[in-house]
Symmetry: C2
Subunit: 449 residues, 2 copies
Amino acid sequence: MERVEVEPILEQVRAAIAAQDWERAVALVEALRPPDQAEIFGDLPPAEQDQLLPHLDLEDSADILEELEEEEAVEVAKRLDANELARILDEMEPDEAADLVGDLTPERAAEALAAMEEPDEVRPLLLHADESAGGLMTSVKVLLHKGMTAEGAIAYLRAVAPESDDVYYLFVVDQDMRLVGVVSLRQLVVSPPWKRVEDIMDPDVIYVRADTDQEEAARLMARYDLLALPVVDEHRRMLGIITHDDLVEVLEEEATEDIYRLGGVLDENPPDVPIPAALRTRLPWLVLNLGTALASATILSAFESTIARVAVLAAFFPIVAGVSGSAGTQTLTVTVRGLALGELSPRDALPAIGREMLIGLANGVAIGGLVAIIALVWKDTPLLGAVVGVATLLNMIGAGIAGALVPVLMQALKIDPALASPILVTTITDASGYFIYLGLATLVFTGWI
Amino acid sequence: MERVEVEPILEQVRAAIAAQDWERAVALVEALRPPDQAEIFGDLPPAEQDQLLPHLDLEDSADILEELEEEEAVEVAKRLDANELARILDEMEPDEAADLVGDLTPERAAEALAAMEEPDEVRPLLLHADESAGGLMTSVKVLLHKGMTAEGAIAYLRAVAPESDDVYYLFVVDQDMRLVGVVSLRQLVVSPPWKRVEDIMDPDVIYVRADTDQEEAARLMARYDLLALPVVDEHRRMLGIITHDDLVEVLEEEATEDIYRLGGVLDENPPDVPIPAALRTRLPWLVLNLGTALASATILSAFESTIARVAVLAAFFPIVAGVSGSAGTQTLTVTVRGLALGELSPRDALPAIGREMLIGLANGVAIGGLVAIIALVWKDTPLLGAVVGVATLLNMIGAGIAGALVPVLMQALKIDPALASPILVTTITDASGYFIYLGLATLVFTGWI
């Protein structure tokens, strides 16, 4: 089966709900996989969600709450009574349940936890910061003791976790619950039954501390191609594991964050975010942008008399400032992404800035030459062509330097380069573009040369 | 163990190579995991790579060539003789070997394949386009027949694939090699030994055709949380599987591509790309940008006499055009990312454009008001304040509409919105900003009102 088209099924589900045909509505939902179930459920109006949910079995309800967008799940959870919610939470993966409980009001969270049958799988997960490895981890269902035999371990697995299909690695602990190794189910299966786990396992296991940043944990999993990453406390005692679905989520989240920040959007802005929330993530940036635009405005204002005398100069503002701005953005983009992916390390910073300066020089010769020809042909003024061309050339070099230097400096100052760099680089290329261009023009056209 | 610091080890390896102490150099490398081995190897100068490689065993050499950046691996492979290369290729994962062979010259590839012991694992993988599911897949080592028993399947696994740790799902085929189901190793282990695979397996297996785009395949794996995705031909016969490490790679690649394109960089630009290659990915974009900047230049030129008479107008160019440009970029960023993540579907397009128009209105009232006050206080001219403020307000609304409309249209036209939208949106906000501002100013200040 390939990906399901959910649109037509959504219509059928809504028709069944409208007809109060619960058997059909449930059958339609049950035939789908959890992500598709959640997509359809999320697209229903709240009243229909509330009508449908009690007819679904607990497992489907849990799947849907796990797969819904966080904010959508919270809205649904808010409208459930504490007992219903608790029964669904009991069915959910502990990390997903903890994320949901963590988003409720403290009173509501306490109520729901009190009504749960197995709150102890969820409670410890609530203690860790959202963006840390601890906030990402889930409880481990199966831990092997290093003294078990292969046969004993498989029998234990059969008894304890006959249902969970996500047991790829089995982590091995000693009597103090300290992580001492990892063994794959395959290794257990192909080993002689009497062999001890500690003689089969790989003792060189990669782990993180609970307070590690989630991005670092995800990068470790991606780098070493891990399906599960154990999370330990300061004594190396097992606290939980991060599973591969979290890896994908964190990587997407971090990519989205970088894309947003490079685009001047301060926080998540899904297409259905309310307008006031969208304004909160965008307006402060525009105000800051307005502040930096004043730098350019001041420079333009200082050259007012030159502009008044040679108004033709204004025609080339978008070219001198705009194209250099684009060049600066290119350099910035490459540098920020290189830093994020770890391809660019601090020791490469100086050569990288040098390279970008040379690229700026080459771009500047090409674009500056073109601009000079355009100015010459269009306005029939060789001097203007020379001024515009030289200004563009110089500003392109500056754009290359600023585009590489600013993010490297931000990184060194522990400020996210994706957040702080675009506005600074644009301000620099803009202001310096106007200054170089109008400065040159003043020298040339007002006869100070 | 947490992530290894490779820097100090690199120095030790280089010292050992300089001293021709191969035993030490090899021991240092062997103590590391493949990604760390590759990082160190990639940082060695080519001459040292060539000296070290023959001393490493084939498995380490294969790991290193798998983990190196593609271009680095090709450079190393080019310098090996065909027999050495073939022996390493035999040790590599078939998909990685195929990627490497595919990047060699046709003669060199033919030589290497001819010298391989198992070229047939690699040859079929060479037939598919690089960015397709077929180009991503690797050969399947273990396929179960639906008639096998659970016990028989485990015995078969023990015999065929005692080494491969990446057997999470076992795919089940019928006598015609058609994919009919999937079973996990865990399900096999916990089932009664006499039970037949077809009675244990899940027949509802998700697969893709070999010509499916790699991004779609990756999105399927991410959505349904799959560790392996089977790739089939038009008769649903198994061709191979895409493994989860490819998922992470494709998602990162696609995120990088979007970030690059939004930043006006046409193709990958790692920090060590040669300058001419960097220019090829950037200069065409700047030339195009120059072309669109001419639209704004033409408008400015048309208002030359207004600028000459009221030169103070120029001071506000960076504000009217620049801040609206930033607002347009914000809208664009949110829209492009929403489309890429599938959060924004065509049927949401109209409401999304309406929302962004309203956000533009709200931003415009706030920023336009601020700008008017700044103009009033700074230049002490109420009329100028009114003109600048109204122009900013109108242009912010335009930026909201353009920022949402352009990417949606591009998507409808099957053009990558991340590629085409930024330059169009900037051109529109720039040109319309100058036009609205100078048009209003001409009406107000030259007495045409």
